[in-house]
Symmetry: C3
Subunit: 117 residues, 3 copies
């Protein structure tokens, strides 16, 4: 039976889960009052830390789902995203506008899968 490694596990979720060479992770903003650029930066900074801690890296991202609460934030989210993604390493990516996230101040949430090194 292939082992599962869970990081930052609570009763509700794990910060990341590693199995079979794949890392599964979801990140929400650290702040609930920043604008979308700040919140996207917070998320991507945290994802980079978690990827590295899980034996992966930003250039090993496979897929991403970006949930925005306002599509008017699209360009500003993308400016941060495009600068963060290592050149030549962009994942398969969906981006949709949802009604809301768990905290009313959150403007963005990102789910990802990545390959370990």
């Amino acid at each position: 039976m292939q082992s599962i490694q869970r990081n930052g596990t609570t009763a509700r979720y794990s910060d990341s889960v590693v199995h079979g060479g794949i890392v599964y992770l979801v990140e929400v903003p650290a702040s609930s009052d920043g604008d979308v650029a700040i919140q996207t930066r917070e998320i991507l900074d945290s994802l980079a830390r978690q990827l590295n801690a899980a034996g992966s890296a930003p250039d090993r991202i496979l897929s991403a789902t970006i949930y925005l609460t306002d599509m008017a934030d699209y360009a500003r989210m993308n400016a941060v995203w495009d600068a963060w993604v290592p050149s030549g390493s962009a994942p398969s990516r969906a981006c949709v506008q949802v009604v809301g996230l768990a905290d009313p101040g959150w403007r963005v949430e990102i789910a990802m899968t990545a390959a370990t090194r």
Copy 2:
């Protein structure tokens, strides 16, 4: 070529798909008039049955995406979720509020991936 096992397959979807040691599944409520606690329980009961039938188990869940139609249901959905997840086995989890699901009475839908035993 690695085989794909499909369970409960219709022209539109399969209840679960197993490939390479991973189970992919999505569940919707059995009822369309229950409150969110009842519907979440219905979904998680069905997911547990499907996971076991597919050679996995609730403590092997890797990732989950929870779609709610009203974030006011968040706490009641979580109460059922937190009690259902085996201790120490919480997955990577995203939770978003969408406009609606395929049946107007559904308040929650859950997509998951899990590892086989």
Copy 3:
């Protein structure tokens, strides 16, 4: 380290990503003024091409997430979808209504994972 193959890579996304026998892809409509049947057809035609180019095929789909901007489009999207999915090969599938997609004219967006041959 298991290699990652990326196709159609920009600074923001890849059309598809292949790793460990799994293809990750997301497709949006080619047109922003077609109705949902036309847009779904455009997406599925493109997904079929991308799957084949990535060493997979429509009968190797594992999971799909369908984002609609209006659940009133559900039946017409499904008519195209049901006809496209090879018999006996339907994936695990979630379908939700979101507020909007990146282009205001898009009525549908589909994310998929598939197994290579």
